[in-house]
Subunit: 354 residues, 2 copies
Amino acid sequence: MPSHSPLDVDDVRARVQKSIDAFLSHQEPVLGTVSPDLAPIIDALADMLTGGKRLRPAFAYWGWRAAGGVDNDAIIDAAASLELLQACALIHDDVMDGSDTRRGRPSVHRRFAALHREAQWLGSPETFGMGAAILLGDLCLSWADEMLYRSGLDPASLLRAKPVLDDMRTELMAGQYLDLLEQARGGGSVERALRVARFKAAKYTIERPLHLGGALAGADPSLLQTYSAYGLPLGEAFQLRDDVLGVFGDPAETGKPAGDDLREGKRTVLIAITLQAATPAQEVVVHRHLGDPSLDVDGVADLRTVIVETGALAEVESLIDRLTAEALTAVGAIDQPAQGVLRDLAVAATARRT
Amino acid sequence: MPSHSPLDVDDVRARVQKSIDAFLSHQEPVLGTVSPDLAPIIDALADMLTGGKRLRPAFAYWGWRAAGGVDNDAIIDAAASLELLQACALIHDDVMDGSDTRRGRPSVHRRFAALHREAQWLGSPETFGMGAAILLGDLCLSWADEMLYRSGLDPASLLRAKPVLDDMRTELMAGQYLDLLEQARGGGSVERALRVARFKAAKYTIERPLHLGGALAGADPSLLQTYSAYGLPLGEAFQLRDDVLGVFGDPAETGKPAGDDLREGKRTVLIAITLQAATPAQEVVVHRHLGDPSLDVDGVADLRTVIVETGALAEVESLIDRLTAEALTAVGAIDQPAQGVLRDLAVAATARRT
């Protein structure tokens, strides 16, 4: 008999959406009082904050529940605030990468560039779009902790959670900078690529959201350690799965053209392992194609062949299996029903889809 | 007999610097634990956070004192946190404007572009510099409320102050967006230009810092109203003084080349009033020169002549006088020694320097 309903995860996701909608409805008149010209900001953020897997709120919610917190709307609001932090990261990331789309829709900077173009305003639409996107990201970053504090959780809980949020934000920005640096350096070190995965994904997406929920509920230190023992390997596995999908994934699922990570030249753990194992001839293929914006289907196929033939894909798959198993062992120490949901989330986040 | 020592303002400024230095010394090992590659971040922020007028911390500190708060190091830390918020605004502003310098030093994005160039990394130094600057601004925005919460002020005070900080950040981002929009639309409305001045400068630089200090000290609503009655007109006068200095100021004082705001094409209240009063011939001069990046000394002189001959300069000067007088009347309701310091700050921030 399953220890939890399969609807639990979907249910939290739907409530997170309602909570975000309510927060934006609160902010709309706040901006409206400043000027009606600010309406496009709310529209853009409402679109940006629709859909998505809501992984971070899910982990925060179950971090609360596993620590004995009772289900209520306040913890959903608190957990949902992580989506605003994530929106900041995505909006700014798209500016930094010059990405045109996000989940199949125009990225925020493109959206505001289009607004500028349609209105035939002065100056460069791209510069306006970039400026607007930087400011919208800043607004999301500010609103993330505003939403957490407006959740209605008691002050003692909020003060316990604050240092977790602080660490989480610092680690996110640090991880993003290291990622930027890794791309600039042309990668090459498996260890450095793993460190980026650890800070950008493992801590930020899984461990810290669990800690945040736990801290809000007053979890004891040993439970927080269990969250780390589950969250860190799982987060690395999740990032590795994302690396594999970026190269071999189905565009219908990833929402990005096939081989897009190769075209962008992303220096992932998968690529670092490939280069470590490559023969001189294979290395030539990687250096010729990786990061070529006009890379075609044949080029993508050539790179995929090298990644398979060096054994890098098999090594990453076995690493994913090992890390996921480690996470599943650690989760055994957590009470039901949280344990069951965390098991499901672990499997869903890392399962093979190619 | 002066009601306060002339050293009060300098004294607060020196203590704010010490407080920022201590906060960065705390964060340095936090980043160091993530990776030694993060060292350039602390170096850049330490430079960025050295010097400056520290206006926002000064107003926050005196907002606390005027509400009966006693002098201590915790309030200095809390007040100093506003410099981190301001650092975010400046770093991101420089990216949006493509500014090369800040207070005579390379702007953060230029600094990281130079780091990239020296290291001969892959890709565009400009793109790397922009990405790093976006992330450093995000870090400053996160660290601003981290520093406020680490100040050691009691939780009840911090929770009272939180909504003020929330409003302040939203107003800052909203004001910046309206400014961007105003430049794109080519200005033209005195009312819209004044609204940008109100949100970007008056509320953000003076009213909200006073409110923050007041809220931390538990000020009653009537005192907060007095802060608004002083802060809003003073803040607008301060922004108008800045507009005038941007056109007529001494480069030695402003740290920017003469007429730099004209070259950038800034749509200030001064320019809006000029265009409102201009003859068709004068309008032609403004449209020919304003926003011309290669504007030379003669062009600057032509524009200055139009600004003077339309009566716009005189009108702005009289507006500054009127607004400053209004602020000085309101400040009469505040106890000494805060009243004396706030009077001095008002005069210093708005005095003619041309």
